[in-house]
């Protein structure tokens, strides 16, 4: 075998590299070198995409199969220093599990609003975040609380763009008369969440 061919032989480092990469991701996320840590978490509503920054919970997504799309937006709007590091999401995972099991009514998590709209859209989400477990408001009421009683459609649109559903409970906003209205994660998930909270019966 020639010298060049011998030098070109590749050592199998698959497992060592994988283990080292995982250790790195955990370290980088723990020390803030990774600006964003994400994980895919199983839930009764299907697999969730969950991302956090050093400031707080950044995003919950219902379309975990489109993880690339979530990551693309995060890279463009927050930082490309993104790693998959489930350990950084332990607190989020635990609180979501408790919520789905009916053992938690309020989330105690700092939030990062980087992906939220500004202005009216943000005020809509702020008002939504104050709706208590088991409570509901109409789109008209949430628009009023955000300061523009007539901006009902804009309020609906802002809720649809909520980057942190479940924790910012946009599922608690219904149509006047009690119809469920829309939901970013699909109407079935909205119904499921309202069942958990005892607003609609299973």
């Amino acid at each position: 075998m020639t010298l060049e061919a011998q030098l070109g032989l590749k050592q199998d480092v698959t497992e060592a590299a994988q283990a080292a990469a995982r250790r790195f991701a955990a370290q980088a996320a723990a020390h803030g070198a990774a600006k964003v840590a994400y994980a895919l978490e199983p839930s009764p509503l299907g697999e969730l995409f969950v991302a956090t920054t050093t400031r707080g919970l950044l995003e919950i997504g219902f379309e975990a199969e489109h993880v690339d799309a979530y990551l693309e937006r995060i890279c463009a709007r927050v930082s490309p220093a993104v790693l998959e590091a489930p350990g950084r999401l332990d607190a989020v995972r635990r609180q979501l599990d408790e919520y789905f099991a009916g053992r938690r009514e309020t989330f105690e998590l700092p939030l990062d609003w980087s992906l939220a709209r500004q202005g009216f859209g943000r005020r809509v989400l702020d008002a939504t975040a104050r709706i208590p477990f088991g409570g509901v408001l109409t789109y008209r009421e949430i628009a009023a609380r955000a300061g523009s009683p007539k901006a009902i459609r804009a309020a609906g649109s802002a809720l649809g763009a909520n980057p942190i559903p479940i924790v910012v409970p946009c599922h608690r906003v219904l149509r006047t008369g009690g119809a469920l209205g829309g939901y970013g994660g699909g109407i079935e998930r909205k119904r499921r969440l309202l069942e958990i909270e005892g607003v609609v019966s299973a």
Binding site: M1, L3, L7, L9, Q11, A17, P80, A81
Partner: protein, 156 residues
Amino acid sequence: MTSLPPFQAVLDQHREDVYRFLVALAGRQEADDCFQETLMSAIRAYPKLQPGANVRAWLFTIARRKAVDAHRARGRRAVPVESVPEPAAHSNGTGPDPELWRLVRELPPRQRGAVALRFVADLSHAEIGAALGCSQDAARQNLHAGLERLREEWVR
């Protein structure tokens, strides 16, 4: 939308080659520490990279620097790390020859870097030049000189 891909994708795509490169340049014992330091430096600098930059060549530039640092630190220590036998990669004889790579690690830094960047990282002469901080021609010369020396010393 032109933005950098998530660092996780860079890690997924290049981790094995970077790890293999560090084993080749720094040895099994040091590879893991070098890998952690390489990636920690990389993720910190990554957001400032231009979209469309040659991420692979950039990553190996950092990795080579960490391997050089580790090599220097090892030289300063009195511990005869070289006497610790490198675990055989393959018992069937199809893997890299540990004796050959020991010789590579004894080459002068630029020759050592050029050989590993060419044969482990599969970089072009231009990329090797960028990683070594020299011209493409100088990279080619270092590679050539390194190979000549290995040809003399390597006993099959």
